[in-house]
Subunit: 232 residues, 2 copies
Amino acid sequence: MPQTPHIERHFTSSVVVRDVVIGMADGLTVPFALAAGLSGAIDQQAIIVTAGLAEIAAGSIAMGLGGYMAAKSDAEHYAKEREREKREVAEIPNEEMREVAEVFQAYGLSEEETWPIVQALKRQPRNWVDFMMRFELGLEKPEPRRAMRSALTIAGAYVAGGLIPLSPYFVSETTSVALLYSVGLTLAALLIFGFVKGRFTGTRPLRSALQTALIGSAAAGAAFAIAKLIGG
Amino acid sequence: MPQTPHIERHFTSSVVVRDVVIGMADGLTVPFALAAGLSGAIDQQAIIVTAGLAEIAAGSIAMGLGGYMAAKSDAEHYAKEREREKREVAEIPNEEMREVAEVFQAYGLSEEETWPIVQALKRQPRNWVDFMMRFELGLEKPEPRRAMRSALTIAGAYVAGGLIPLSPYFVSETTSVALLYSVGLTLAALLIFGFVKGRFTGTRPLRSALQTALIGSAAAGAAFAIAKLIGG
């Protein structure tokens, strides 16, 4: 199963943007929510900073390595399916010709209308395999070396995002002051991040900004309530 | 940009499995790593439990709502692109006919060979639009009501995953005993989860099991080291 999103032509930005979005969305939200939650229960800034940094380390590595494995697994999946199509095109060409025709018949084309395509593909097995990969299976050729770059981008974005809500806890005198600054700073960061994300993904920027801020607030609210209930 | 993975025919399992995998992969890893990290720095089980549950609340909501918004945004993206293709097919049919031909020319077909397809599509504008969505843009029609189901599945899997590493801290007498049980329990859970995931995603199950356990261990190791460095 392809574990990374499918890229298509109308999308004007790059895979890097997608990875930054994945890492930063969680990086801004979860450490923020955890620190806010702990602030409601424990009045010891050192513990909140420790927990926050431990979370950033855990989250960035889990997400980065997760992205690495997903990209690797996509590439292997593609290679495996390609081998299989290649074999099928060589061994059971009639079956594969029928499959090409079926792809088009789903769009209301008759067998006669698809005939020239089927015949033309049959003459060029290599293109035929590529055609089946994209049109029968809907798989895009994965970019080589994407896995490592993807891992580092996601992890880096998570760390960068996570340090924003945590930074007030490094310098503030009391936990409640730190919480106040952290909420303000993180809401601002979520709004800006959501806005920019919206511009890249095609969602209306203002709506994307509000949605992103809402996710962060809901997560932090729930963490706060739970921590208060148990620990406070 | 489509934010959810692209589903294709060779993949035999369902979207639900994908969402369970997304939620549980992080749910098993991050709360485990956070609790392990804090165990290295703080000898107060109540704080570790509070932080762990706050993290589970924050993480499950952030991931669940994130999945919800991503699915919604995919559906809107699809609807918007479909409107655009519909308009283009009606207003600049010659341009669109050229685009159909180009799709096939990339696979070595000549203009004459693609001609029957282009003509047939031209006679059925509705199928033509669907054809462009899938073959020019590579977009799949999103399933309605997927967003809410996806959100609940991801969040539920995160909570279920997160409670496994945390459970020993509820009952053990000392933090170090809890940590020991948590490591054992979570490694077992990661191996089983990775194995099952491998069977569904087509990666070799044993390798998938080891990879998944490795991600969890790396994340927990880093969190432990950082927490020890600051708090211990």
